[in-house]
């Protein structure tokens, strides 16, 4: 009836996961009860859960990423403490637990923090920057988000029911095969990623289509803001790479569920095929994350330097070059597997070539600052912090691309330091910069600058204190994923790294405080004009938060930095209103519970697959499919906002803006 599921799946004998899971469950329950008692449920259902508005979906993506950042961060804290104390002892985490923690940390941080954070920002901002009213497939967008949430839910469910994978975040066979990992851990891992992978793929298709097909009048490709370009590149990579991940995990699951032999030791299975396939996805994946990050920095550096982006066309070229080359370098993840010198050298050089367009980007940001008038608001601090940090990550990255150097550094703590250097220093800093930068746009008020800066400095310094020691122990021969060790010379560095983790934790707490303080002071921080940073692209041309239809009139774009040009124009003409066309009715997509219902059934199906509850698998599968069919049979998918209502909403914003322009005119 319940497959493999019985009471032994609940880890009553292991206090740490049980308490952690219990606290999370209690938290979720408390929030749910609060929502129901206060009567917020209808609001949540109508305005958020069933919303197909790209801005709302973007916000929900970011919320999911933030919550998962706390989970993944807790894992990180536990690992740093373990390695700080497990010198000549077992520490406080037994191997079977420690191994789950580093596997969950990697999986969560990549798939459920970095990915949803950047996809959330792209969802929120790109349609606004393109001057359009929504993404290409609004309901599919909602489905994508909820499937991602399903994956996150399943990963966290493994905390209290069963176990998570103990194989590392890429679940290399044969360790991840049934013979060596008989538990449900790898199944949790694989099904979570299969389900959320579908979500990511539809998000990718959606955003590619949006950028290619939905641009406002005059928004040529070479007038798009840099963030739209990097979004395009990143989502092209998603569309090309995620099917590889899905296929690879499907093969692993076939091995585990139906006795296939793709990657087993026996019967001609080949583990090297898994290595190749997983990295053929895995390397583009890092560029899927970092390209949008580059886009965010481009927006921020240009805005806060009060200058257009330097060398825009060069940046576009560099972005697309990275997009293409990133597919040709995957082998550098296993130079030490015994490939011949020609193969190693070619992939090593290909990997270095990516550093060229990346270096060009750094120089172009540098020259964007040159001759600028730089305002050091929090997003700009993150960006300058990124440039300094990321260069070091780039240096060590090129270093491990040199095969003979990699022969010493492969899988070492040096490598761990390198990829945290580029993912924290590149992607996470960008996520925070984007969060600070676009928060006023999403919610209509700015974030508290003082707490933002406290958060930045603690995170920035904390990062260096945590990860520079890992470079050092890597040079001292320490490999990754060690639950305990006996080498005295590693110990002091692990203590320093643990202290750095404390600083990072304070940084995160400061950022949480920042949000709380800002919500309290929201009236004082209110952004009435929709343009709090003196922005340059079209998202600042509408109110904060934007109306559901984004723009009453499709903006007419005449060059790069569309909104900046508009502002200049308005100042010259002393005009701030639309004297042109009449307001018209606007059709917007109706909200739909399809995404939520579909994800509910996907959760049921995923859980049942993990525990071999076959009747429930059928139930979940049929349910998810039926939801799609019902949606496909819909008669009305749009509703009309009457012209009078559009006019009423838009007038308010126009008034505020006119005040801004006349104010600017007097200065």
């Amino acid at each position: 009836m319940l497959g493999k599921l019985d009471w032994s799946a609940i880890p009553f004998d292991q206090p740490i996961p049980l308490i952690a899971g219990g606290v999370v469950l209690a938290g979720i329950l408390a929030v749910l009860i609060w929502v129901v008692v206060k009567g917020h449920l209808p609001y949540l259902w109508h305005e958020w859960i069933t919303s197909v508005d790209h801005k709302r979906i973007g916000v929900m993506y970011i919320l999911l990423a933030s919550v998962m950042l706390l989970r993944g961060g807790s894992d990180a804290i536990m690992m740093r403490i373990q390695q700080a104390i497990a010198y000549q002892s077992q520490g406080y985490l037994p191997p079977e637990h420690y191994n789950q923690i580093f596997s969950a940390h990697g999986t969560i941080m990549i798939f459920f923090v970095a990915m949803p954070f950047v996809i959330g920002l792209m969802n929120l901002v790109v349609p606004l920057q393109l001057g359009v009213r929504d993404v290409a497939f609004p309901t599919l967008n909602s489905v994508g988000f909820w499937l991602t949430a399903t994956g996150a839910l399943l990963v966290n469910l493994s905390l209290v029911i069963g176990e998570f994978a103990r194989t590392g975040w890429l679940a290399f066979p044969p360790l991840s095969e049934l013979s060596y990992s008989p538990g449900v851990g790898v199944d949790y891992y694989a099904w979570s990623l299969q389900i959320s992978g579908v979500g990511t793929l539809v998000a990718g298709i959606n955003l590619v289509t949006t950028v290619l097909k939905l641009r406002t009048k005059g928004m040529n490709y070479l007038r798009m803001p840099m963030f739209c370009w990097t979004t395009l590149a990143s989502n092209l990579l998603i569309v090309a790479a995620f099917p590889i991940l899905t296929a690879t995990l499907a093969m692993l699951l076939l091995d585990r569920y139906l006795g296939f032999h793709f990657f087993t030791n026996e019967a001609g299975g080949n583990v090297m095929m898994f290595m190749n396939l997983i990295w053929a996805w895995g390397h583009p994946e890092v560029y899927i994350l970092v390209l949008p990050a580059f886009g965010i920095y481009s927006e921020v550096v240009s805005t806060f330097s009060s200058k257009p982006l330097f060398g825009y066309r060069s940046m576009v070229l560099a972005t697309m070059a990275i997009c293409i080359i990133s597919f040709m370098v995957w082998l550098h993840h296993f130079f030490t597997m015994g490939a011949g010198p020609d193969v190693n050298a070619i992939f090593g050089i290909a990997s270095m070539i990516i550093a060229v367009p990346t270096g060009v980007k750094i120089y172009n940001w540098l020259f964007t600052m040159y001759g600028g008038r730089i305002r050091f608001a929090t997003p700009m601090l993150w960006s300058v912090g990124f440039m300094v940090t990321f260069i070091i990550g780039g240096l060590t990255g090129v270093l491990v691309a040199v095969p003979p150097a990699d022969f010493m550094l492969h899988n070492s703590m040096f490598l761990v330091a390198h990829f945290h250097n580029v993912i924290i220093g590149g992607v996470l800093f960008a996520a925070f910069a984007g969060f600070e930068y676009w928060f006023p746009k999403a919610f209509g008020f700015r974030l508290d600058e003082r707490w933002g800066k406290v958060g930045f400095w603690f995170t920035f310094i904390g990062f260096w204190v945590t990860f520079m020691p890992l470079y050092v122990v890597g040079m001292l021969g320490m490999t990754r994923r060690m639950q305990h060790y006996d080498v005295a010379e590693w110990r002091p560095w692990m203590l320093v790294a643990a202290f750095g983790m404390l600083l990072l934790t304070i940084g995160v707490l400061a950022q949480i405080t920042q949000v709380v303080v800002s919500v309290r002071n929201r009236e004082a921080l209110r952004d009435r004009t929709g343009d709090p940073w003196d922005g340059r692209s079209l998202e600042w041309a509408t109110s904060s938060p934007p109306p559901v239809f984004n723009f009453a009139f499709y903006p007419d774009v005449r060059g790069e930095d569309a909104y900046w040009a508009l502002k200049q124009h308005a100042q010259e003409q002393q005009l701030g209103d639309h004297s042109g066309p009449e307001y018209q009715d606007i059709e917007m997509p109706r909200n739909s519970p399809t995404g939520f219902v579909c994800a509910f059934f996907a959760t049921v199906m995923g859980f049942a697959l993990i525990w071999h509850i076959w009747w429930m698998v059928i139930l979940g599968g049929v349910g998810a499919f039926a939801t799609f069919v019902v949606f496909a049979w819909r008669d009305h998918d749009e509703y009309v906002i009457p012209a009078a209502e559009v006019e009423r909403i838009d007038r308010i914003n126009v008034e505020e803006r006119r005040n801004l322009v006349s104010l600017a005119g007097t200065l």
Binding site: G311, N344, A355, V356, F367, I374, F376, N411, G477, T479
Partner: protein, 277 residues
């Protein structure tokens, strides 16, 4: 275990390339970081002496320089990578004094077995080698993937079941070194550290002779016991019964090691047993 304190020619060459590459890159990285901080500071909005140039958005010369600097660096490093990959190919022989020593390393769950087929002996978790001699190492795995790595001797290499990888090393100075597995392989992974004893070429035959007198015998049967999952705290040594044992393992004539034996996993016992045969 300091990578910058190499004890053999491979490690020395690896670490030279490592250090040289870092310095080549620092030559452009340091000025760039300085420029970032300097520009960010000088062009702050509150600096009245900074020259505001909002129209400085393109310059052909600057573009050429910013594409050229990373490109030239990469061309230089690409040369280093190409030559280094060929000279330091793990499969390429490393000439030494005296006759080469053949070693066959097998990663087990969770210990290292070192077979000396020519000397008809085997050791667990200790690798004893003569200084200065060429070491021809063949590697395979009894079960999951591992990576054989002695940091101060250089180049690591994967071990995989059903496959043989090759690595050639040389240890130049007598002394004690440490080796480890550099690829996560399960619960006992951190205990896969092993001792490397580099002894004088003169005492190596004595060590071989002493070891060959060990009572314990390594044959198919005792190997199957050894490959059960577990941690080995001691440093057992064996007489080798069949010098072809490694080939039997590598060609899967001896089936791969079993995974965890969980009696409680009732629904699993069938397939688990099948894999373990």
């Amino acid at each position: 275990m300091n990578l910058l304190d190499p004890q053999g020619p491979v490690a020395a060459a690896n670490s030279t390339i490592l250090v040289d590459s870092v310095f080549i890159m620092l030559a452009i990285v340091v000025p760039t970081i300085v420029a970032i901080l300097a520009f960010a500071f000088w062009f702050r909005a509150s600096n009245p002496r900074a020259n505001f140039q909002p129209d400085f958005v393109y310059s052909g010369r600057v573009e050429m320089v910013v594409w050229a600097i990373p490109a030239l660096t990469v061309i230089l490093l690409g040369g280093v990578a190409w030559i280094g990959s060929h000279q330091l190919d793990p499969a390429a022989p490393v000439p030494g004094t005296g006759s080469p020593v053949r070693i066959q390393a097998v990663s087990l769950d969770w210990k290292w077995l070192f077979i000396y087929p020519d000397q008809r002996i085997a050791t667990v978790n200790t690798l004893t080698v003569p200084a200065g001699a060429e070491l021809n190492i063949q590697l395979t795995s009894s079960s999951v993937m591992n990576v054989f790595f002695i940091p101060q001797l250089g180049s690591m290499i994967y071990t995989m079941n059903g496959m043989v990888t090759k690595l050639n090393l040389r240890a130049d100075n007598e002394g004690k070194l440490k080796g480890l597995s550099a690829h996560f392989s399960g619960d006992g992974f951190p205990d896969m550290m092993f001792d490397v004893n580099v002894i004088s070429p003169l005492s190596f035959p004595d060590w071989v002779a002493t070891t060959a007198k060990t009572d314990a015998v390594l044959n198919e049967e005792s190997y199957k016991k050894l490959m059960q999952q577990g941690i080995e705290k001691g440093r057992p040594t064996y007489r080798l019964e069949d010098p072809r044992l490694f080939d039997l393992i590598a060609t899967q004539h001896i089936p791969p090691g079993p995974g965890p034996q969980l009696a409680s996993e009732a629904g699993r016992s069938q397939s688990g047993g099948q894999d373990a045969r």
